[in-house]
Subunit: 209 residues, 2 copies
C-alpha cells in the first residue's frame, strides 16, 4: 500500500467550532463534505482525542467555518496545535454568533449544523449535521489543504485523519517543533521578535533537522 495515494484527495481547511458551557471552542478540520442537498446536510470528521469532539457530542451543534487563502494562518496554529481543554481558542479572535454557533470573522463562509447522526470509527467520529443556517462571510478564495501545505508551508497535526509522518526536510531547512512549519534559511537572520506564521511561537522553536 502506497499511502502517498491518500495525499491526492482534495480537502479544504476549516475551523470546526462549538460551545463548551457557554464558552466558544473549536479545532481545525479538513475532512468536511456536503452529503445531501435538500435538506442540506454536512459530514465532518473529528478525532475523539480532540476536546471539540466531546463538546459537539454534548451540545449537538457544530459550525464548519471555511478559511480563505488570506485568512490569518495563526488561526490554524491556535485551533490546530493546542487543546480547547486547557486553552481558550477564541482568546483574541474576533467572532460573532451565527446560526447559534461561534464563527471567527476571518472566515470566507460558515455552515452551522445540528447533529442528526454519527458514525464511530477507530479514532474519529463522523458527525452528520443538518444545516440550520449558512452564509458567505468576508469573501476570499477558500483555502485548500494543498495550498496550506505548498504556500503556507504548514504541517498536519497528529490527530488529523490525513496525518502521515512528513518526509524528512531537505538539508538546510528548519522546522518549528510546535506546529511543523518549515522555514528555509538561517534563523540567525530573523529578528528577535519573529513569530512562527502558523503557531505564533518564537524562533527558538525552529529546529534544524
Amino acid at each position: 500500500m502506497n499511502k502517498n495515494a491518500f495525499r491526492t484527495l482534495s480537502y479544504g481547511v476549516y475551523l470546526c467550532t462549538t460551545w463548551d458551557e457557554g464558552r466558544p471552542t473549536g479545532c481545525v478540520a479538513n475532512s468536511a463534505m456536503q452529503i445531501t442537498s435538500a435538506p442540506a446536510t454536512i459530514a465532518v470528521s473529528v478525532n475523539r482525542l480532540n476536546y471539540t469532539n466531546e463538546k459537539i457530542a454534548d451540545t449537538g451543534y457544530f459550525s464548519v467555518c471555511v478559511l480563505a487563502e488570506d485568512s490569518d494562518p495563526l488561526l490554524i496554529g491556535k485551533f490546530g496545535f493546542s487543546s480547547g481543554k486547557d486553552t481558550d481558542k477564541f482568546d483574541g479572535v474576533p467572532y460573532a454568533v451565527r446560526g447559534k454557533l461561534p464563527v471567527p470573522d476571518d472566515c470566507c463562509a460558515w455552515i452551522s449544523c445540528k447533529v442528526v447522526d454519527r458514525m464511530e470509527t477507530s479514532t474519529h467520529t463522523v458527525f452528520l449535521g443538518e444545516v440550520i443556517d449558512a452564509d458567505t462571510a468576508r469573501g476570499g478564495k477558500p483555502m485548500t489543504y494543498a495550498y496550506y501545505h505548498e504556500v503556507v508551508k504548514g504541517a498536519t497535526a497528529k490527530n488529523a485523519p490525513t496525518y502521515i509522518a512528513e518526509p524528512e526536510p531537505r538539508k538546510g531547512e528548519y522546522v518549528c517543533d510546535v506546529c511543523g512549519y518549515t522555514f528555509e534559511g538561517d534563523p540567525a537572520t530573523l529578528p528577535d521578535d519573529w513569530k512562527c506564521p502558523v503557531c505564533g511561537k518564537g524562533k527558538e522553536h525552529l529546529k534544524k533537522r
Copy 2:
C-alpha cells in the same frame, strides 16, 4: 440560509468504481475523505439513485480513483451523466484491476476499499471503507472540483450532494443539454464533428439560454 456557502467547501473529482456481476461499473463522486489513518479508512458519499450505490452494497467493495487536471474530461461525462444500469461505463476506457477493483488508467491515484460501515441519509449513503490497497498511478496534479468548474467548465449532475441549480448563463453562452458544459461563442463556427469535451455529444446539444 445562503447556499453559496456550500460552494466554499473544497472537493476533488473522483471515479468511484465497483463490480456489477463481473462487469466493471462506477460513477463520479466528489465527496470522499480519509477518516482514520491507522487502519486507513475512507468515506465516500454516493446517491442511492446511482446504480453504483446498489452495486457497492452488493459487493462490499469500492475504489476511489482520483482524476488529474489533465485526465480526459470525457471520463466525467461518461461516468457522471449516464447510468451504469443501461450503459457500460468502461466501454472504451482502458483499465486494470488494482486492489480487487477496476481502476481506469487515466487516474493519478487509486484507493481500493472494503466496506466496513455505512450511514444512510435521506438521499445518499456514506460508505466507510477500510483501504485494502492504494497507489499513485500515472502522476499529475489531482483535479479539484473548483478546477472542474472554472477550467473544464463542467456542470454538476443532479444526483450530486453539491448540486445547486446553476446560475443563469450569461447572454451569448450556450449550454450542453446533456452535461451542462458551458460554451462561449457561436456553435455555427464549430466543425460538424465537434464533440462536447465533457460528455462527448454533438453540437446539436448546445442550446442557447
